[in-house]
Symmetry: none
Subunit: 407 residues, 2 copies
């Protein structure tokens, strides 16, 4: 069943609001086994909306509209659908009564324009709106379904969950589409693509790669006649991929590197401290976004100026010998963090974030030092990008290496 979404409202075309409704519905449709082929956004212009509806009517089985159901002249979704289907709009007396009751209940007088929200066409089944005055429509005609919902996200989502989703589930039957996302770090998207290329052309389960700020994500999507069958397909493909990318795979679905590192630290009863320079506090910030972080995170010294590293205990001679941005200094920072901030594990993180190169080392050069009390390691990395990207990648790299040491 091919699905299409039409978002209606001039405010979307003026960029005054971002269309979150389309993204919400898009994320819901795969659960029903429905394939979304297009999303279109149209302003409050009846002719252009009718044209868009006509095209959707020709190429899709399910058309979902949001917006344009308000009480003002601008709201033309009802009129456009009536024109598309060549049906007549009439006032439904029960709906009109409900509208009047709604206003009376809130001690308000109903503006006369509101009566248009009680207008319906013969083939539309009325869908109640529990959070507003605009009812939705469910239309089945000529083997197609049109679902019409209001634009305010809270009204739309409630209507979707309570009314539309159950009706669509009846229509689609047992097909289930499930997804799982594997998260990797350390390889480029092109390299990941190359390594898993045999699976990219398989039609079930499908596999797609996405470049994200915390690495390359691989999304496995399976279509089956039941949840357990879909999960089995996904489990097999996950095992295939882990066989190839195990060293790089750090998480699944909603995992974040900081949540995974946090869980490992709690399980092992270890505490963590940091000295960071170019990342300017981003590593500490990301770690403390985890609600439980006070259980294991001691603190961080953001040593932007070299004198502060030295005043805190990092060997000045080491800095002048090897340069502040070096493996040796990153290791010394890790040890100082561990000792001075009283933690089981210390991380030292130093890098060149720009705007200019330093001592011939390019922007994006990163050194990570980790001292866990038994041994000390350092990692040199280089990721291209602007200042904020380099900061982010340095933090991702540090958490990724820390995870490897903890597992």
């Amino acid at each position: 069943m091919k699905a299409e979404i039409i978002s209606i409202g001039t405010e979307l075309l003026l960029g005054e609001i971002t269309d979150t409704n389309a993204a919400y519905l898009a994320s819901q449709l795969p659960l029903l086994g429905l394939n979304l082929h297009f999303i279109s956004t149209v302003g409050d212009n009846q002719q252009r909306l009718v044209d868009t509806l006509r095209q959707a009517w020709q190429r899709s089985d399910l058309i979902i509209t949001t917006g344009g159901l308000g009480p003002t002249q601008d709201d033309i979704t009802r009129e456009a659908i009536a024109e598309l289907l060549n049906e007549e709009l009439t006032i439904n007396s029960a709906l009109a009564q409900k509208l009047q009751d709604f206003f009376r209940y809130h001690g308000l007088e109903m503006p006369s324009s509101n009566i248009k929200q009680a207008a319906v066409i013969p083939s539309a089944q009325i869908i109640s709106n529990l959070r507003g005055t605009a009812p939705g429509w469910w239309i089945e005609r000529d083997k197609r379904i049109i679902v019409t919902m209001p634009g305010p996200p809270s009204e739309m989502q409630l209507m979707w969950m309570e009314e539309i989703l159950p009706k669509l589930q009846q229509k689609t039957g047992g097909t289930v589409i499930l997804s799982r996302t594997l998260k990797t770090f350390g390889l480029s998207e092109a390299k990941v693509d190359e390594l898993v290329s045999p699976f990219l052309s398989v039609s079930n389960p499908t596999l797609a790669t996405y470049a994200k700020f915390d690495g390359i994500h691989l999304r496995i999507t399976a279509k089956a006649h039941g949840i357990s069958e879909a999960q089995e397909l996904i489990d097999h493909r996950e095992a295939d991929i882990r066989g190839i990318l195990d060293d790089y795979t750090w998480g699944v679905d909603s995992d974040t590197l900081e949540s995974i590192v946090g869980e490992l630290l709690i399980v092992k009863g270890l505490s963590l401290a940091i000295i960071e320079s170019g990342t300017g506090g981003l590593l500490a910030n990301v770690i403390t976004n985890v609600p439980e972080s006070s259980k294991y995170f001691r603190g961080s010294l953001v040593a932007y100026a070299d004198e502060i590293k030295i005043a805190f205990g990092v060997d000045a001679q080491l800095i002048s010998q090897y340069d502040a941005i070096s493996a040796e200094v990153a290791e010394a920072m890790a040890t100082t963090a561990r000792e001075k901030l009283g933690a089981a594990i210390g991380i030292g993180l130093t890098e060149i974030t720009g705007p200019t190169e330093i001592e011939g080392k390019p922007i994006g050069t990163i050194f990570i030092g980790i001292d866990n009390g038994q041994s000390r390691q350092s990692f040199a990395r280089n990721y291209p990008g602007n200042r904020l990207q380099v900061k982010q990648r340095a933090v991702t790299s540090a958490l990724f290496e820390l995870r490897k040491i903890l597992i």
Copy 2:
């Protein structure tokens, strides 16, 4: 000139990401006097993309695409436009060289698939991408313009600002729509609305308010027959608003609190150091997002554990007497930051970010201490919200108060 946006990427149709590019571009087009009639979203499917492009070619004068310019098989925008225009894709040797140089500079080997990012059609003018490997295209043919930009928002926005916007400005001329955004902090959106209500119903310039993470923004938009006339309309309205909201207004347009504070510190030749606790490094991180920050930022101690505050020099007795989250301790942290990190100004920032209340003080309680060497002040604030919102608001409040002290 009728404009149309096509957003390309299966991840948009799966609801994995929200299409913020379309909203950004939609908000830009009115500045050029361009009318946006449609936004379409298509997956990584060449046939459907070609169909969508063909329709756009028939009904619009300007077609802007984002996405689908990556190096993988999925990325089909170049191929689809070549098919639409019936032109041939060939590898541009200068672009290929640039790509290879990019990888070499970062010490990486270029995956062979990346070469497709150097493919162009004869009618396409190459638009350079300062933040990534995918160049854009500018095509003028048959009285139509096609603009092709990469999907990652930071790459797209820079390309738009630096390359595309100036080229489109040349093409349009005549009616100008200009906007200016005033940024305030410290009042609720409802309160700001109430104070500026007479201006909200005026049709030129229009005024709209938006609640953002760094306060309430007021957007003034004027339509006129020339830039100077539009600017004059905006200047007048800005003066009106500043007359009402002057104490709360901290910036304009692309200003950020950290960039404004940074400029003030540079002008006054002052340096800054921090001790922060519950914000976990976010204040230092935000400050160091400014490229020039190494000129004035000394560093920060992220003292998540109380013992670290004490070890670093904050009076232990003060903490036990007043509690770590108190005005007294925030002031002591400011002084310790100033003295121990060797800066002209010290900030101490402490707050309750959750998950639970501490000593009867609710989540969202914030204390800011500032010591500039001559005097010491503290500020108590409370903003409701979740962990990340409280962290953000504490940082915004601290920067807002620091700005007031510096001006």
